[in-house]
């Protein structure tokens, strides 16, 4: 049986990984530590907490969600910069169709005691059907000065003009959608997930 909510930990140098239940992850990244993890969510919630708790600790959290039917996904990613000079990246992209709904909440917290941190969060969502819904709540709590912090979120439908352009070249609507969805996800997810993603596109584009 293939896991419909796969994850892949690429790098976990100086990282303590806790997985209290099948939806929740806690990563404790110590001094000079480096975490890189990818999540693909299709029908289950995800709850991630990253504690950057030593100097020069780094993390990269990539998450894609692909959801359909009447699934209701909650994706919570929380990065706590608990030490100075820590760095975080969150890249989240997702597609919702059918009557599904997604709520993404992304937290970056940098307290006053932790200067020279760098925290970034980017979210993009595509809504494929009139009844699907994506909601993003970025939550940035930045108390320290001298930090770099950026975030962005964009949610919308497929571009009708792109779809039409592909179709005028003889490509069917379904194939055209698959091309646009693949280019939307880009290389966010690893090769290991590509069969799962392809299958979802075949069924839902």
């Amino acid at each position: 049986m293939t896991n419909s909510n796969p994850f892949l930990i690429h790098t976990k140098d100086q990282v303590v990984v806790k997985n209290p239940d099948d939806k929740s992850w806690v990563f404790e990244v110590d001094k000079n530590g480096n975490l890189w993890v990818d999540f693909l969510q299709m029908d289950a919630d995800l709850n991630v907490l990253v504690n950057l708790q030593g100097e020069d600790a780094k993390c990269k959290i990539n998450c894609a969600y692909l959801t359909n039917k009447n699934n209701n996904l909650n994706i919570d990613i929380k990065v706590l910069h608990k030490y100075k000079k820590t760095t975080s990246e969150q890249h989240i992209k997702g597609i919702a169709t059918g009557e599904s709904s997604v709520s993404f909440k992304g937290v970056i917290e940098i307290p006053k005691s932790c200067p020279k941190c760098d925290g970034r969060q980017h979210h993009r969502g595509l809504v494929l059907s009139p009844k699907a819904k994506i909601e993003a709540v970025p939550q940035l709590e930045i108390w320290a000065d001298d930090v770099v912090c950026s975030h962005g979120s964009a949610i919308g439908p497929l571009d009708a003009n792109q779809l039409f352009y592909l179709q005028t070249r003889g490509i069917s609507e379904k194939e055209a959608k698959k091309i646009l969805l693949s280019s939307f996800l880009g290389d966010l997810m690893p090769e290991e997930f590509s069969d799962t993603i392809q299958k979802w596109m075949d069924e839902n584009a």
Partner: protein, 247 residues
Amino acid sequence: MAALLEIKNLHAKVGNKEILKGLNLIIEAGEVHAIMGPNGCGKSTLSAVIAGHPAYVVTEGEILFKGEDLLKMTPDERANKGVFLAFQHPIELPGVSLAQFLKTALNAKRKANGQDPIDAVAFMKYMNVRATALGISNEMLKRPVNVGFSGGEKKRLETFQMAMLEPDFCILDEMDSGLDVDALKVVGQGVSVMREDKRSFMIITHHDDLLQYVKPDKVSIMRDGVIIKTAGAELVKEVEASGYDKF
């Protein structure tokens, strides 16, 4: 010559605004037909309606292509029957390489014609011949479709796509707008090379720039959503001499 395209009493609207108001037009196989008219007369709407843009709603009339009801077909079905629209403003497709895009398009056409997909080596040869002829570099083929190209380059790429897909009916929607003389020559040459007995062109324009490089067989003047006059190439000179007001 038999009619390749026959448009009868075509009415179309976008939103609540009627733009085509009973348009009639016949384009024969092998014919280069220029549609000239002032801005806002509905020229680009006509090309969008023929290609099947979902924002335009046909309320009356019909379009026959090779004798078949074009309006019943999806945009991709129309393309695979031989309709090609070169866009006035080509659409950018980030993350989709031009070569991959064209291979997918070519294979869609082959599938519609009951042929197997083209193999990789044959495709490269087929593409490279056409790319070289139009001055499309290898590097351009690898880049995402229309992303980061100048206006002139985009029009050249539209011409290249047309050469790749070898359609029977090519609509050039304001291909000459915003082009410098060099880019105009490339587009003009691209069209001239492809001109043949069975292939027709509908060249939409509001001045004679492109028509200096591609001599039309027929010219129609469009005003306020209808064709008001059709004649030979001499009509271009009349338009250039005295504008559209006399029609």
